[in-house]
Subunit: 133 residues, 2 copies
DNA sequence: ACTTGTCTACGAAGTTAGTCGTAGAACGAG
DNA sequence: CTCGTTCTACGACTAACTTCGTAGACAAGT
């Protein structure tokens, strides 16, 4: 019954993953309290969510002590990439360009960040003249 | 009972909006056939969805002829922007930078497109030295 | 040992999205 | 006029997500 392959996390599951990514392995209580800073949530609600996420292989848990310690089973980057791909398809019909333009156009970006992007652009330009990796 | 303010479209609603944006005002049948090119969908399913979207003010409809003609009540850009904002928050914790980097890094972008982004960057840089709009 | 508090496990209820069946109106042949 | 087709409207069913209540295990303090 143990199936691998972590699926797309739901909205709330993602919030929990964010907490785990930010703070590392945590108990249910910790996660719950972190959640409550944003949105009132019952303890058992958080518990249940984590249990479900465990079933889905979205998180792992250490059952040594009485309070289990949960940690993300997927990395933040992996997940972001996966969600981004999907989002790109559904919302921007696959045009990374349009997405980037809108993201840059409508959100305050510091000059330093713009510079960072400029570097990436240069790097991409160079790579594109080479063989595809 | 008529409340304005179009809400966040769901996954399937978005697919329908895409069709309307691409092809302009359409009948239920047309939308349904477009959907079927991707995914087998019953006629009444499409109908119901459009009716619901009508209630939600996501689409408008012309009831002149027997087959109603639906059209998007929101523009593609508006909607993309709104979904992007949300996505940015939930998935990238608000960092437009990280999103852009990942989008550019992992999707084939043509040199022409890179150039277009470069122009935008220059424009942003100039604007940032002015007063904030 | 008893009480109090914290933990896991489990099940049930509420919500929303998506699916479709069926009924009845409208239309167009023949 | 009557039959078959196409349409809208409506209601019901399923599945997934989220929420929480309750029960029982476990530990700690008095």
């Amino acid at each position: 019954m143990e199936n691998n392959a972590p699926p797309k996390p739901t909205e709330t599951e993602l919030e929990i993953l964010q907490i785990l990514w930010q703070h590392g392995p945590s108990t249910v209580r910790f996660v719950n309290e972190a959640q409550n800073k944003t949105k009132e949530t019952g303890y058992t609600t958080t518990l249940k969510l984590l249990q479900i996420m465990f079933e889905k292989n979205l998180v792992l848990r250490d059952e040594e002590s009485r309070s289990h310690v949960y940690r993300a089973a997927v990395t933040e980057e992996e997940t972001q990439q996966r969600l981004l791909d999907r989002f790109l398809d559904t919302t921007f019909r696959g045009s990374a360009m349009k997405l980037v333009m809108q993201a840059l156009g409508n959100h305050r970006t510091t000059p330093a960040e713009l510079d960072q992007i400029r570097h990436l652009l240069k790097k991409l330009e160079n790579d594109s003249s080479n063989a595809d990796l």
